[in-house]
């Protein structure tokens, strides 16, 4: 199956792209996608503990199955806390 992968901010930097199509084996889950990205782009490894992952615009748990045609987005932290007392 084919998924569309979107990445933003530091995740885009680590992948070298913000948008790409990936062929994944049937039955793959987000955890499988993660293994593959970590292998091809080791810069991803330290990011995962603070990444959220969305499928088709909804944040989902890490073992969520992928489906053909899904848009999977890697969402680094946003800047809320820095802004709580501070700068925009």
């Amino acid at each position: 199956m084919k998924i569309r992968l979107l990445a933003f901010a530091t995740a885009a930097d680590a992948l070298g792209t913000g948008e790409t199509d990936l062929e994944m084996p049937e039955g793959s889950r987000i955890s499988d996608l993660r293994s593959r990205l970590d292998h091809d782009h080791p810069g991803m490894i330290p990011l995962w503990p603070r990444l959220a992952v969305a499928i088709d615009g909804r944040i989902v748990p890490p073992d969520t199955p992928l489906e053909d045609g899904a848009e999977v987005a890697l969402l680094p932290p946003v800047s809320s806390r820095a802004l709580a007392g501070g700068p925009w």
């Binding site: 901010a9 959220a52 944040i59 809320s80 700068p87």
Partner: protein
Amino acid sequence: MVIFLGSVRDHHAGRPVEKLTYSAYRTMALEGLRRIVTDLEAGHENLRAAIVHRLGEVPVGEPSVVIAVASPHRAAAYDASRTALERLKAEIPIWKREHYADGGAEWREVEPLKAEGSTRDSVDPG
């Protein structure tokens, strides 16, 4: 009516900032902003809200965010404005990169993104 203008500050942690660039997961960000507005308007009769966030390059001193809330009840307007701002910062997939006067640039990534409603914690896929 309460209007919040969020402008780009000229320093971060003592380091002079020249500009920011904002990038967004546009479809999800727009949907999230609409959800915030809908929730606020559902929470108070006759309250109307609008949120605008600039993307791309924003020079120091210029506003990047505007939140406007109109309500016949001033307390509701203030509360809704603040709620919109806090939810925007926690739930909306917009990232900012600070460009420093010394030539460096860094993404400001502080809080893992929250799922909608800001009560659930973000999911850690690790």
